[in-house]
């Protein structure tokens, strides 16, 4: 794997390999010394054109646990805000010898352009691009689902037959896109529930079911209910009339939570709008995986950086331990 730009580009074997490696990485995170020398001497640049403290810190922790040198390059207050182009920034990073670039960009396809325009040699990880994809989020979601279902016996398992319902702003969600491709690749049955305004035109051919009725989706008792964040600006664009109506029709309010089977896990990529797409009761319930997702994000990103940057991606993630 040279870059990670989209989950649509992954094979089933690649996806399972990353998830299994992430299990190894999670073991490392449980130790007293949470560090591997695997990427010692390698430089990872976190190139964030959009603010995202959570994702950036997660990648930073992941790279540091692999002993990489980490440079945080945020667009605000840098040359980028003075009009420097993606090309110039990329060439600057190339000149500095970056081995891996983790990019968050507001423009869909920017990581693809960075990886393929011939500006840099570094491996590129898409940390969220516009309304396109956020592949490490989907990987950590799949990892979280698998761990909840199979615990210590997760290695090697896929998500065959697992019912996942994704609720909310599918149209603008990079998390939804990455999850649709990855979860269906791993055998899950994915259902999308949203107001019709927030479902993209033209998805009839996608390997998902779609619907508008959250109550019906709740009563179907899925194993996973994934609530997406609602962006405030969508209301101004008339995607739905207002917060109250959204919360009533497509929010996971306490009554809906009560109707869910006890085994259903409630996921949210964060940050949450409590009271809008998810009630406090749901966010704080035992069904919620929100904090697991955050913790697992580090393990999954360690696995991704390892496979992109450690050279021999077929070897053991832990072989660096044997070095002095």
């Amino acid at each position: 794997m040279r870059h990670l730009l989209s989950t649509a580009e992954l094979t089933r074997d690649e996806a399972l390999t990353i998830l299994d490696t992430a299990e190894d990485m999670a073991d490392v995170s449980d130790r007293e010394v949470k560090k591997l020398p695997t990427l010692r001497g390698r430089t990872v640049v976190n190139l964030f054109f959009e603010d995202s403290t959570r994702t950036r810190i997660s990648f930073e922790v992941a790279a540091k646990r692999l002993s990489a040198d980490v440079i945080n390059f945020s667009a605000k207050g840098s040359s980028v805000s003075k009009g420097e182009s993606l090309k110039d920034t990329a060439q600057t990073l190339q000149a500095m010898g970056a081995d891996g670039v983790v990019i968050r960009h507001g423009a869909s396809g920017a990581p693809h352009t960075l990886a393929h325009a011939g500006w840099i040699d570094a491996g590129v990880v898409n940390a969220g691009d516009g309304t396109h994809e956020h592949p490490t989020q989907a990987l950590l979601d799949a990892f979280t689902i698998r761990r909840r279902l199979h615990g210590a016996a997760s290695r090697g398992r896929d998500l065959d037959g697992v019912a996942v319902t994704i609720v909310g702003d599918i149209l603008h969600s990079r998390v939804a896109r990455s999850n649709i491709w990855l979860l269906t690749l791993l055998g899950a049955r994915v259902r999308l529930v949203a107001p019709a305004t927030l479902l993209p035109v033209g998805i009839a051919g996608w390997p998902v079911e779609t619907g508008y009725d959250l109550d019906a989706a709740v009563d179907a008792g899925p194993e996973v209910l994934m609530m997406l964040r609602v962006q405030g600006e969508r209301m101004g664009d008339a995607f739905f009339p207002g917060e109250r109506e959204y919360a009533r029709e497509w929010g996971l309010h306490p009554e809906r939570l009560a109707r869910l089977p006890a085994t259903t896990m409630v996921m949210h990529p964060g940050p949450m709008n409590r009271g809008l797409e998810i009630s406090a009761a749901a966010a704080d319930s035992p069904a919620s995986t929100v904090l697991d997702q955050v913790a697992n994000g580090v393990s999954v990103r360690m696995a991704v950086l390892y496979h992109l940057l450690a050279g021999d991606s077929r070897g053991s993630a832990l072989r660096g331990e044997e070095e002095p």
């Binding site: 090309k87 869909s108 896109r177 993209p200």
Partner: protein, 438 residues
């Protein structure tokens, strides 16, 4: 200069000699001793091509193109006349600016330049530009367009359609509902959903065309529709023509050849307005051009500097250069598919665009006494399109690296050779040219 062109294949398939003296076609028998003889065996003789939709970018955007460099590109593609769109800076919305563009074209000499006037002041869609003044100016403007922007206010569009009737003008509409395309990046459908690029729905084009043909019918005016790109738009125009509405329409070469799938690599060279559409739309456009629903091919030649395309797709400018490649693309999309013959090509790329634009001298190909505007092309050639194939100032061609059929070998503009043996020849007014010998 007296020129004898020997053994050219005319658009109707006949072989004939053509003769040029003092800038006009003459009977070969009456030429006397030619100063230059062109062996046109195997070459198709076409009337000089006419582009109703060119962006020459001057004044204001000379880093992208100038009248001089844009007409070099035109000549190299077989064009002898181009209509220069109004979205310059300052906008071509006054007599002064259109006269300036006209004069720059006359000075350059590679092709006839006919300025298009803006419909509204500054292309802002608020009030009518000085349409009458532009029509009465030395540039004698007959085509008016806010291209790049849609005249979306229905009342303003009605008034524009009516007003240009006074002097036989035509409004060329860029049909794009701005509200339905806010932030739009590519054709809306499964692919835009997958790529996460904001969708540009076909209905945003079709609804404006439907409205405009009804307005044209109501006020008894002529309407021209720029760069038709969807199957639905072809249907609407077919319906309007069947109803007797005075509408003409153009398709670009790129919409006849390329589909939205080019966006999959996020390469901004394929970002264009209107966007590349689905394969069904390409098929419908080809069928529409073949059956006359679409009247002409127009390039929408839209040069941009490198930095406007070396970036992420959503941040890139819309547009592609097209003058140099148009004839080859039409050959690939229409002639080699059997949908058009060369007589049709002469009609859709020369005679009809000249008629729509009110340009004289293109009524009958090679008529004795008519200005000698002529292109000779080798349809058997196949060349890989490269930066060396481009002669304007910008390199944003979607065809770089692609093999295309056909090659423009000789071009005469008013009897003056602008291309000879496939090489651009410096025009009389081109002091900057480093291409070829004088």
């Amino acid at each position: 200069m007296n020129v004898l062109i020997q053994g050219a294949t005319l658009p109707d398939g006949r072989r004939a000699d053509l003769a040029i003296a003092d800038g006009v076609f003459v009977e070969p028998a009456e030429l006397g001793a030619p100063e230059r003889t062109v062996d046109a065996a195997g070459l198709i003789a076409l009337p000089g091509l006419v582009d109703l939709h060119t962006h020459l970018r001057e004044p204001g955007f000379e880093q992208s193109e100038t009248v001089l460099t844009g007409t070099r590109a035109a000549a190299s593609g077989g064009y002898t006349a181009v209509f220069a769109m109004a979205n310059t800076d300052p906008v071509q919305d006054t007599a002064g600016v259109v006269e300036q563009v006209q004069a720059l074209g006359e000075r350059a000499g590679y092709a006839t330049v006919r300025p298009i006037g803006a419909v509204t002041v500054g292309l802002r869609g608020e009030r009518l530009a000085e349409i009458g003044a532009m029509a009465a100016s030395r540039a004698r403007v007959r085509v008016f367009s806010d291209d790049g922007m849609c005249v979306h206010d229905p009342l303003l569009m009605r008034r524009a359609l009516e007003y240009v009737k006074s002097f036989g003008g035509v409004v060329a509409q860029h049909a794009q509902d701005p509200r339905l395309t806010a932030g739009a990046q590519m054709n809306e459908g499964e692919l835009s959903a997958r790529l996460g690029l904001a969708g540009w729905p076909a209905v945003a084009e079709e609804s404006i065309i439907a409205r405009d043909v009804l307005l044209a019918e109501h006020v008894g005016a002529r309407l021209h529709v720029c760069h038709v790109s969807t199957a639905g738009a072809v249907e609407v125009i077919r319906w309007a023509k069947a109803r007797g509405i005075a509408v003409t329409a153009e398709a670009t070469p790129h919409h006849l050849l390329l589909t939205e799938h080019e966006a999959e690599g996020y390469d901004p060279r394929y970002k264009v307005n209107p966007p590349l559409r689905a394969a069904e739309d390409v098929e419908a456009l080809r069928a529409g051009l073949a059956d006359g629903t679409i009247d002409i091919v127009a390039t929408d030649h839209a040069p941009h500097p490198a930095e406007a395309k070396e970036c992420a797709w959503p941040e890139a400018a819309n547009g592609m250069v097209g003058l140099e490649s148009a004839l080859s693309v039409v050959q690939a999309a229409m002639v080699e598919t059997g949908l058009l013959d060369w007589a049709d090509v002469a009609r859709v790329m020369s005679r009809t665009p000249a008629r729509i634009g009110g340009l004289r001298g293109y009524g009958e190909a090679f008529a004795i006494g008519a200005p000698a505007h002529l292109a000779l092309a080798d349809p058997a050639a196949r060349t890989t399109f490269s930066p060396a194939s481009l002669h304007g100032r910008s390199g944003n061609s979607p065809y770089l690296g692609r093999e295309l059929p056909g090659r423009v070998v000789h071009v005469f503009h008013g009897g003056v050779p602008t291309v000879a043996d496939g090489e651009l020849r410096p025009a009389p007014g081109d002091r900057e040219s480093s291409e070829g010998a004088a």
